[in-house]
Symmetry: C2
Subunit: 126 residues, 2 copies
């Protein structure tokens, strides 16, 4: 029996902001969720696009040209590869995002908020 | 300014069941939505996994081993490559699904419900 995942249940397992949790894999892409609140690290991914879909709250991506993508629940957005983005959430937001399995979520930027791919998938092995 | 898409608005443009509408592309994957109601075509995709996420209603995938994945709103599921699946929705369901851009949504099966990739992306060119 192939598994069915409930996002509500998956989010209930998350205790830390900006710490991605992988909920599915398909075609080399990881489907991840995270609770976001406050400022994340400005970063880019040289070779990988990033798809975002907001489940709850408001999630924003600021770009270097001064533009901002402001996503409410039910809205989606793609940050193209190479483009520097500075994510933040004014209050707690629940976000699903999709990127290649090898993508580092803080891109080329190493930060206290960086989480290894191993930590993002640790619950799948327990 | 990179676009933000509202799923509610995108769904409002759909007038036909089982007719996929591409809402985003990232890393060679198409993010599609469809309204489902009734029986779809049993099919498989030899080389492509398929990710499903239900926005509204109940959407089911029946497998040849007799098992069934029954997804309610907020639930997701992956049909692995090669696996025959028979989708259906007891009542209208709104589904987001993700698959490689080249994937045919009825797989190797040609049916009256088959829609070309061109028809799934026609609104992007208008």
């Amino acid at each position: 029996m192939l598994p069915v995942a409930s996002l509500e249940e998956e989010f209930s397992q998350i205790t830390e902001y900006f710490s991605p949790r992988v909920i599915a894999e398909a075609n080399g892409q990881y489907f991840k969720i995270a609770k976001m609140k406050g400022e994340f690290v400005r970063h880019n991914h040289e070779n990988e696009d990033e798809f975002f879909y907001v489940i709850k709250g408001v999630f924003c991506l600021r770009y270097d040209d001064g533009s901002e993508a402001r996503l409410s629940a039910g809205q989606c957005h793609v940050t193209p590869r190479g483009v520097w983005h500075h994510p933040y959430a004014p209050d707690e937001a629940w976000v699903m995002f999709v990127e290649p399995a090898e993508t580092l979520h803080t891109g080329s930027v190493e930060s206290a908020l960086s989480r290894s791919v191993e930590s993002q998938t640790a619950h799948l092995k327990s």
